[in-house]
């Protein structure tokens, strides 16, 4: 059976959204979470959030007891004027931090949590797939692996500059590197699109209910 998913309005809208996010990732525009301006998540931010076991990246469970602190730590990591190299006594940095965190403190908890989740979901939408199994023995960080791969492919990047690439750019570049490497072997890589899940669910529905509205719009040919 052939299905033209582009003919289904909800799928087309999802694809347009993904294309927009991918394009904007290279525009240099700032991002926002719940209306608050933040930096795009970089590999350096990601490493840092892993280091502090942020629950938003699966480091531990979200708990009411530590929630406010976890939200503040997340936002502060990606605050536009945060200077990670500033001394703890730097008065200007301390004043900025106070003012920034006051703004975050005014957000409703569920608004902040949902905003962070949406921000992360977009940042990781082109991340490579995984098997979710194995012995989990780790000999280097995920950030190191990604940076090594990017630096090997792009001569102008150093590990230091690669860490400052937004994930949305870096993951798209990794897909291209993988595609090129596999093409040299005469193969195609297994890659993912954020709309794959929706596509799968629509296909399953069309198989199960051949007369459903999506089937009437999108099935090009049945066997």
């Amino acid at each position: 059976m052939f299905i033209d998913f582009d003919a289904i309005p909800q799928f087309r809208a999802a694809v347009e959204r993904v294309n927009l996010v991918r394009d904007v990732a290279f525009s240099g525009l700032p991002e926002t979470i719940a209306g608050i301006e933040v930096l795009p998540l970089t590999f350096r931010h990601w490493q840092w959030l892993n280091t502090i076991a942020s629950p938003f990246l699966g480091g531990r469970e979200l708990e009411a007891r530590t929630l406010a602190g976890d939200i503040a730590a997340f936002f502060w990591t990606i605050a536009p004027k945060r200077n990670p190299g500033a001394l703890s006594t730097d008065a200007r940095q301390l004043a900025y931090k106070k003012q920034f965190l006051l703004t975050i403190g005014r957000l409703k908890l569920d608004t902040a949590i949902n905003g962070v989740r949406e921000y992360l979901s977009e940042a990781f939408m082109d991340a490579p797939g995984g098997r979710g199994q194995g012995d989990h023995t780790s000999y280097f960080s995920m950030g190191a692996a990604v940076v090594h791969r990017l630096c090997s492919a792009y001569g102008g990047l150093t590990p230091f500059t690669a860490l400052d690439l937004p994930l949305k750019q870096g993951f798209q570049l990794l897909k291209l590197i993988e595609r090129e490497e596999m093409a040299k072997l005469g193969k195609k890589p297994m890659q993912f699109n954020p709309t794959d899940g929706l596509k799968g669910r629509l296909a399953a529905k069309i198989h199960r209910f051949p007369d459903c509205s999506e089937a009437k719009i999108a099935v090009i040919q049945r066997n």
Binding site: M1, F2, I3, D4, F5, S121, M125, A127, P128, G129, G130, R131, G132, Q133, K188, M190, F192, N193, P194, D196, G197, K199, G200, R201, A203, A204, I206, H207, R208, A218, I220, Q221, N223
Partner: protein, 124 residues
Amino acid sequence: MPRGSRSVEFFRGANDTDYVGTSIGTYLLETDSPSRPSTLTDRRGTKNEATDWAGSKDFDTLSGTAQLADDTANPLERFDWFVDTFDDGEGPERWVITEVSQPEGQADARKQTFTCRKDNSRTT
């Protein structure tokens, strides 16, 4: 071949009499056209000159990526099969998995790479 995503139903197991398997789910295939090779035999004369050759069909294969359509679809295994038409001239063909990877996932999608061989003895 129409443009669109190919969606197939895979089956598992079959008996020798009616060849009915159990449906294991719906899968979206990302594949190129099947590879349809042939084996050539040269015939030569007494001076080793080319006189004739004969060709016979070799085994058709198909490889690509299969996306498990939803959570109800089972991971594909070796010898799972599906029937579909890739070329009008060939009609419906039965393709049997001969090699398959472990599923990999990203967000709510799971995929496997596979290689199939055409079952020349059956089409359904």
